[in-house]
C-alpha cells in the first residue's frame, strides 16, 4: 500500500500550485467581493489544461485521472478559499468526464474540446424547485419528437447560469429529466447534454434567473425554465431509463472533487490558524499555541483534516480503478460508500475548522479584512448541498452498511 503520490502526481500538483499562486491567489478576494471570475482567468485555466483533466486526449482532455483532478482542485481551493474558481473547475472536470463516459461520440466531439480549452462550461442541472435530493421526483419532462426531444420543466440552484451566457462558446448542463411523463420513479429518467447557449448563440426556450448567494460569490447560482427547449437525440446521454443511474455515477466523481475543494480551503484556514497561534501573544508574551485548550483543539482538527483528505484520495483512486483502468478493479456501486464518506467528511471538517479558526482570531476574524469568513461561507455551501446533501451521504452509508431492506424508505 503506497500512500505517497507518484512523481508525476507531485509534479502536477506543484504545477497547479504554481499556477494558482501566480494567477488565482492574488485575485481571490477581489473575485469574491466583486462576484465574478474574470473570463481571462478561465481562458488561462483552459490553456493550462485545468479543465477536463480526466477526459481522454482525443476529446481535448488531458488524459489524466480523477486523482489528479482532485489534486488540482485541492490546490486551487487552497489558494482561493472562497472556492468559486475551485467549484467552477470541479464542475468543469466532473461533468465533462461523465459526458465522456456515457455520452455519444457526436456530443463528445462537439462539446468536450471547447470545455477543455476554457471556452465553454459544462455543469450539472439536476435540482428542481420542489426538491433536489429526491431525484426520482423530478418534474422536468422530455418528449421524443422525431430526431429530437422537447424538454419542459424548471431547474433551480444551478451553478454556471450566468457564466454560460458570457463565455465565448457558451455551455450547458448534464440535464436530468423524466422521459415522456412526470410520474414518480427512478426507472424512467433520461439525461441530456443540454446547451442553452452554444457557439455564441442563445437557444430558444431557456429562461434563466440569477440568485444572490451569501458566499462563494465568484460563481453564479441560478435557475432556469425550459419551455419547449429542443435537444437533438445525439445529445442524449445514455439510454432512456438509465438516466437516474448514470446521474448517480456522475455524482460520484463530482462528490470526490467537491470534497477535495473543501479540504483545500480548510487547509488554508488551518494554516492561517497555525500562523496566528504562533504569533499572537497574550498573558505576558505567551503564544496562544502554548495554551493546550487551543493547541489540543488544533491537533484534533488536523487529525480530521488528514482523515478527510485520505477519504478523498482513496475514493479518487477507486474511481480511477473503476472507470479509467482496464480491467476495472471495482464495480461502480463499490464506490458509493467511499465517495459518500469523502463528501460527508470534507465539508463538515471544513466547517469545524473554519468555526474554530474564526474563534481563535477573535474580533479580527469577524472583520472583512481577515478574509477568513469568505472561506467559511464558501465551503458552507457544501454543508447545505450541491452534488448531494450531507444527509443523503449518511443515507447512502447507512443503507449500504446496515442493509437497504432495513433502511430504505423508497421501497
Amino acid at each position: 500500500m503506497d500512500f505517497l503520490l507518484s512523481e508525476d502526481e507531485r509534479r502536477f500538483q506543484e504545477s497547479v500550485s504554481e499556477f494558482a499562486k501566480r494567477y488565482i491567489e492574488p485575485a481571490w478576494i477581489d473575485m469574491d467581493e466583486k462576484g465574478r471570475i474574470p473570463l481571462e482567468l478561465i481562458k488561462r485555466m483552459g490553456d493550462q489544461g485545468l479543465f477536463a483533466i480526466p477526459v481522454p486526449e482525443k476529446y481535448g482532455g488531458m488524459g489524466g485521472t480523477v486523482l489528479m483532478a482532485a489534486l488540482a482542485i485541492e490546490e486551487i481551493a487552497y489558494h482561493e478559499p472562497a472556492v468559486a474558481v475551485a467549484v467552477y473547475a470541479l464542475l468543469n472536470n466532473g461533468w465533462p468526464l461523465a459526458l465522456s463516459l456515457f455520452g455519444s461520440e457526436a456530443a463528445k466531439q462537439e462539446i468536450l474540446p471547447k470545455v477543455a480549452s476554457g471556452d465553454a462550461f459544462f455543469g450539472i442541472g439536476s435540482t428542481e424547485p420542489q426538491g433536489g435530493s429526491d431525484v426520482a421526483g423530478a418534474k422536468t419532462v422530455a418528449r421524443r419528437s422525431g430526431n429530437k426531444w422537447v424538454v419542459n420543466g424548471e431547474k433551480a440552484y444551478i451553478s454556471g447560469v450566468r457564466e454560460i451566457q458570457e463565455l465565448p462558446a457558451g455551455g450547458g448542463f448534464f440535464l436530468v429529466s423524466k422521459a415522456e411523463s412526470a410520474e414518480y420513479g427512478h426507472r424512467s429518467m433520461v439525461d441530456f447534454a443540454l446547451l442553452p447557449r452554444w457557439n455564441g448563440k442563445m437557444r430558444d426556450g431557456w429562461r434563466p434567473t440569477i440568485y444572490e448567494d451569501i458566499g462563494r460569490h465568484g460563481l453564479s447560482t441560478g435557475g432556469f425554465k425550459l419551455e419547449d427547449f429542443e435537444v437533438e437525440d445525439d445529445f442524449r446521454i445514455g439510454d432512456v431509463g438509465r438516466g437516474f443511474y448514470l446521474l448517480m455515477e456522475g455524482f460520484n466523481v463530482a462528490r470526490i472533487l467537491v470534497a477535495a475543494a473543501t479540504i483545500g480551503s480548510a487547509r488554508w484556514a488551518l494554516d492561517r490558524g497555525a500562523e496566528w497561534l504562533r504569533s499572537r501573544k497574550l498573558f505576558q508574551g505567551r503564544p496562544i499555541a502554548s495554551f493546550e485548550g487551543i493547541s489540543f483543539r488544533f491537533a484534533e482538527l488536523y487529525a480530521e483534516l488528514e482523515a478527510a483528505r485520505y477519504f478523498v484520495y482513496r475514493a479518487a483512486w477507486m474511481f480511477d480503478k473503476t472507470y479509467l483502468e482496464n480491467p476495472p478493479r471495482f464495480k461502480p456501486r463499490d464506490l458509493n460508500v467511499p465517495v459518500a464518506l469523502a463528501k460527508m467528511k470534507g465539508p463538515e471538517t471544513a466547517t469545524r475548522i473554519y468555526e474554530e479558526v474564526l474563534k481563535w482570531l477573535g474580533a479580527y476574524g469577524y472583520t472583512k479584512e481577515s478574509a477568513v469568513y469568505r472561506g467559511w461561507l464558501g465551503t458552507f455551501s457544501y454543508m447545505i448541498g450541491a452534488e448531494g446533501t450531507q444527509n443523503i451521504m449518511r443515507y447512502i452509508v447507512a443503507r449500504d452498511v446496515i442493509g437497504s431492506e432495513y433502511v430504505s424508505h423508497t421501497g
Binding site: 500562523e275 504562533r278 504569533s279 499572537r280 501573544k281
Partner: protein, 305 residues
C-alpha cells in the same frame, strides 16, 4: 599574505583595504581608471589600473589578471556585487583557483597557512566556515569590513595593459532623484504593506525627513513596476547606518540586501512578520498610522519635510 583587491568605487576600495589589512602582509588594488587609481593610492601601497570603458566582465577580468600576473597575490578580494561576482568567477576559473562568495569574515596568516572564510549560505539564513588554501579568491559582503581611512603616504600607481571589451557595451546610468540607497546613511524601504504607488509618498517623505534615500522590496519594483531598483540580493545591497522597513515582512532575499545596516528598524502590522526577528527596533502597528506620527515628530524637530 599578498592580497590583491578589485574595487570600482571609493567605498569598496576602502572596505577591501581594511579587509586586506586584517590579514597582514602586502596589499594592492586594481581599479578601472586613473581617477580611481589616484584616490586609491591614499589607501594602498600599490595601485594598478587600466583605462577601461563601461563595465564589461571579460575585459575587466583580463585586466585584473594582468595586475595579478604582476603582483602575484595569494588572495584576491572582490566586492560581492553583481560586477564583483562576475569578475571573481572569470578570474578564479581562468586561474584554476578556489573561490568563496558572500564572505563576512576572513582570516589569513602569512605563507602557506590556509585562509579561513566565514560566508553566508542558504540565502543568508546560515553561515559556514571554510578553510581554503592559497591562492584563492573571495567576494566580500558589503559592510563586513569598515571603510578604512587614508594610510598616510602615497602608493605607487601602475598602469596595466587591458584588452578591448569582449562584447559591445551600451551603458545607461540609473536615473535616481536625490541620494541613492547604496550611498545614503539612512535608507527607508517600502514593502508590500504599502498598498498603492501613491502611498509610496509616505516612505519618500520619511526618507526626506531623515535626510536619506528611499527604495522598495523586489515585488514593488519587479512585479508592480513602482521603482527601477530594489533592495535585495538580486538587486541593491546596502549597509547604511539606519534602515527602516515600512510594511516590509522580511523575506530572506530582501534582508540579505540590508544585512550590513548598523541599525534595522521595522514597522509592520503583523507581529509574526519575520523582520521582527532581525531588527533592532520595531513598531507593531499600522504603517498608515505610525508613519504620519513619525513625520509629525520629525517635522516638528526641524527635519526637512
Amino acid at each position: 599574505m599578498r592580497v590583491l583587491a578589485y574595487a570600482d568605487s571609493g567605498s569598496w576600495a576602502a572596505q577591501l583595504a581594511s579587509a586586506a589589512d586584517a590579514q597582514g602582509g602586502d596589499a594592492a588594488v586594481f581599479v578601472p581608471g586613473r581617477e580611481l587609481a589616484e584616490a586609491a593610492a591614499d589607501l594602498y601601497p600599490e595601485v594598478y589600473f587600466s583605462e577601461l570603458g563601461p563595465f564589461e566582465p571579460v575585459s575587466y577580468s583580463a585586466a585584473f589578471s594582468e595586475a595579478a600576473r604582476s603582483f602575484k597575490p595569494d588572495l584576491a578580494l572582490f566586492p560581492c556585487t553583481n560586477k564583483g561576482r562576475s569578475i571573481a568567477g572569470l578570474y578564479s576559473s581562468a586561474a584554476g583557483i578556489r573561490s568563496a562568495t558572500d564572505a563576512i569574515s576572513l582570516s589569513a596568516r602569512a605563507g602557506d597557512s590556509p585562509i579561513t572564510v566565514r560566508r553566508l549560505v542558504y540565502g543568508g539564513r546560515a553561515e559556514a566556515e571554510f578553510r581554503m588554501n592559497a591562492p584563492a579568491a573571495v567576494c566580500m559582503a558589503q559592510g563586513s569590513y569598515p571603510e578604512r581611512g587614508p594610510r598616510g603616504g602615497r602608493g605607487g600607481i601602475h598602469e596595466v595593459r587591458a584588452p578591448g571589451p569582449a562584447s559591445s557595451v551600451d551603458f545607461r546610468p540609473r536615473r535616481g532623484e536625490g541620494v541613492q540607497p547604496d550611498e545614503a546613511d539612512v535608507v527607508v524601504v517600502a514593502g508590500r504593506g504599502i498598498r498603492s504607488r501613491e502611498d509610496l509618498e509616505l516612505v519618500k517623505g520619511l526618507a526626506r525627513a531623515l535626510g536619506g534615500a528611499w527604495s522598495v522590496t523586489r515585488p514593488l519594483a519587479a512585479d508592480q513596476g513602482w521603482a527601477d531598483s530594489w533592495i535585495g540580493i538580486s538587486g541593491l545591497v546596502v549597509s547604511p547606518k539606519l534602515y527602516i522597513g515600512v510594511g516590509v515582512s522580511g523575506q530572506p532575499h530582501h534582508v540579505m540586501g540590508a544585512r550590513g545596516s548598523r541599525i534595522i528598524v521595522a514597522i509592520n502590522k503583523d507581529p509574526g512578520a519575520p523582520i521582527f526577528e532581525e531588527c533592532d527596533y520595531g513598531i507593531v502597528g499600522d504603517l498608515y498610522v505610525v508613519v504620519p506620527e513619525l513625520l509629525k515628530l520629525l517635522g516638528g524637530k526641524g527635519g526637512g519635510r
